[in-house]
């Protein structure tokens, strides 16, 4: 059974139906990128996955040992309060908030977990700095560490690259690859950047206003929808983010992966 199985989902944004009959699945170990135009329902889908909103039809089931509250969520930057005075350590530790259960305070294990994630993302030196004074890339690492405190299974990132320069974006892709490959964490990422998505992901879910695609990156590159969004030149060119970085973590992928066309 898949981690997440969506069947014939209907999504509504206020009174407008933005998606109908949306079906896809996320398996354990997947790296899925969700792409699509503005207003196609990407954010609404994220909200449904997180349980912040109910879908208007169809079914959304969690399986393979994943519970809905085990998703580590990295929200859009605009959703975070930029003026909030909080130290990096406080923000990362808040990822453990639902682990404490009825216990009123964070336990030693929670603090150790937060420390471990900060080390993993190389932000230990920033631990006592103020979150709002960090650069965009550093802030994303902090939020990623927080999300990793909340999950050992699945990360859901909502447009994590918005507002970051290409170098920092490439670095973030590298970190995600490391988390996915070495820590075995399943990744779902919503992004605008279709070209980078096909380089890094295993499968693609494209939700459009009129048509959808779900399948492997390779199949997406050869699908009419994929060709229209990627342009014909993609086969020869590398995406700008990958090209400008010499980050060792980032292998350039050419399609591949599993999944079936929906």
């Amino acid at each position: 059974m898949a981690y997440i199985q969506c069947e014939n989902l209907t999504l509504r944004y206020e009174s407008l139906v933005v998606q109908q009959n949306l079906s896809f699945s996320v398996e354990k170990g997947d790296y899925l990128c969700i792409v699509g135009e503005n207003g196609s329902g990407k954010s609404t889908l994220v909200k449904c996955l997180l349980g912040l909103k109910q879908a208007d039809g169809g079914s959304l089931t969690f399986g393979d040992g994943l519970k809905r509250n085990e998703i580590g969520y990295l929200p859009q930057q605009s959703m975070i309060q930029r003026s909030f005075p909080a130290s990096v350590r406080e923000v990362v530790l808040s990822g453990c908030v639902s682990r404490t259960g009825l216990h009123p305070f964070y336990t030693k294990a929670d603090k150790a977990r937060a420390q471990e994630q900060m080390e993993c993302l190389n932000i230990t030196a920033l631990a006592d700095r103020c979150y709002r004074e960090l650069s965009g890339g550093q802030q994303q690492r902090v939020l990623l560490a927080r999300a990793l405190c909340a999950t050992k299974k699945l990360l859901l990132l909502d447009e994590p690259l918005t507002g970051l320069d290409p170098l920092v974006s490439a670095e973030l892709y590298g970190i995600l690859r490391h988390i996915h490959d070495d820590h075995g964490i399943t990744v779902i990422m919503v992004t605008h950047d279709v070209e980078c998505a096909v380089r890094h992901a295993k499968s693609i879910l494209h939700i459009g206003k009129n048509e959808n695609f779900f399948g492997s990156c390779e199949a997406y590159e050869h699908s009419p929808l994929g060709r229209r969004f990627l342009g014909d030149s993609i086969a020869q060119e590398q995406c700008t983010h990958c090209e400008q970085s010499r980050h060792p973590h980032i292998p350039i992928r050419h399609g591949g992966g599993k999944g079936a066309q929906a």
Partner: protein, 277 residues
């Protein structure tokens, strides 16, 4: 200007000043703690809205001859719940909904008090009368303040998570609605207690000033909370002493002290920024 030595007779201190001091410190403490969450959640207006509702309810209770506090606290808690739901779901937008709701409650109260000719009794609650608080008022305030304090400390980590990023907290399975309600209920209790001492018109600034002052000076949430508490209590104490000395209204003196400290802290944070740049 008063001669402090002449006013501060042992009898005055034990009967009037000390109870006021204890109640004032307790309520200032609660107000500053909750203020941090309200300011950061961008719902400072809820405090103000609740004080309007509280004042309106008090007028009605007094006009009908009911015990004012026992009626007002549950009504304001209910109002806090409704205001929270309105600001979550309303098409009008949170602040508009609060303004409509709270001024309507206030209007009802004023109507009731004017029909019953209550102008002097209820004006106590408009501007506050901390030195006129009875012994039972003081005990009531202190007990409730301790409850607010305990609940806040016990849920500190959760309140931080809900204040910083509500969606994330909800996604990890935290019952965000419960914690929002908790903050609203604690705010409601604090507003009603503060109304007795500071007056309905001034109580919301007792919540907001220490929080914004602390936010100017700190980079950590814990630091903000602690600074807000210190600022709030020390402004209350100096405001009280000044009001005795200069023979001014207590509530207004406390707020002006808060304003002064806010101005100084803003200047400090600007200077820090200049030096860094």
């Amino acid at each position: 200007m008063n001669d402090l030595a002449a006013i501060l007779t042992p009898e005055y201190i034990s009967v009037i000043l000390l109870p006021a001091l204890i109640a004032g410190v307790a309520v200032s403490l609660c107000a500053s703690l909750l203020g941090v969450s309200l300011v950061l959640k961008r719902c400072s207006m809820i405090g103000d809205g609740l004080s309007h509702v509280g004042y309106g309810t008090l007028c009605i209770a007094i006009a009908l001859g009911w015990a004012p506090m026992k009626v007002t606290i549950p009504v304001v808690i209910l109002a806090a719940y409704i205001l929270l739901r309105l600001s979550e779901n309303s098409r009008l937008g949170g602040d508009t909904a609060i303004a409509l709701f709270s001024t309507s409650a206030l209007a009802l109260g004023i109507l009731a008090s004017s029909k019953a000719n209550l102008t002097t009794d209820v004006s106590h609650y408009m501007f506050g009368s901390i030195l006129a608080m009875t012994r039972s008022d003081v005990i009531f305030s202190v007990v409730l303040s301790i409850c607010v304090l305990l609940v806040y400390l016990l849920f500190y980590d959760k309140i931080f998570a809900v204040t910083f990023d509500e969606n994330f907290a909800r996604a990890t399975g935290l019952n965000v609605r419960f914690y929002n309600l908790l903050i609203a209920v604690l705010t409601a209790v604090t507003v009603v207690l503060g109304m007795m001492m500071m007056g309905a018109l001034l109580i919301s600034s007792l919540m907001i000033f220490p929080a914004v002052t602390a936010m100017r000076l700190n980079k950590r949430f814990r630091g903000v909370v602690l600074t807000a508490v210190i600022v709030s209590v020390s402004c209350f104490l100096t405001g009280l002493v000044l009001s005795l000395w200069l023979d001014t209204a207590v509530g207004a003196s406390v707020i002006l002290m808060n304003l002064l400290v806010f101005a100084v802290s803003s200047a400090i944070s600007v200077l820090r920024g200049v030096r860094r740049a």
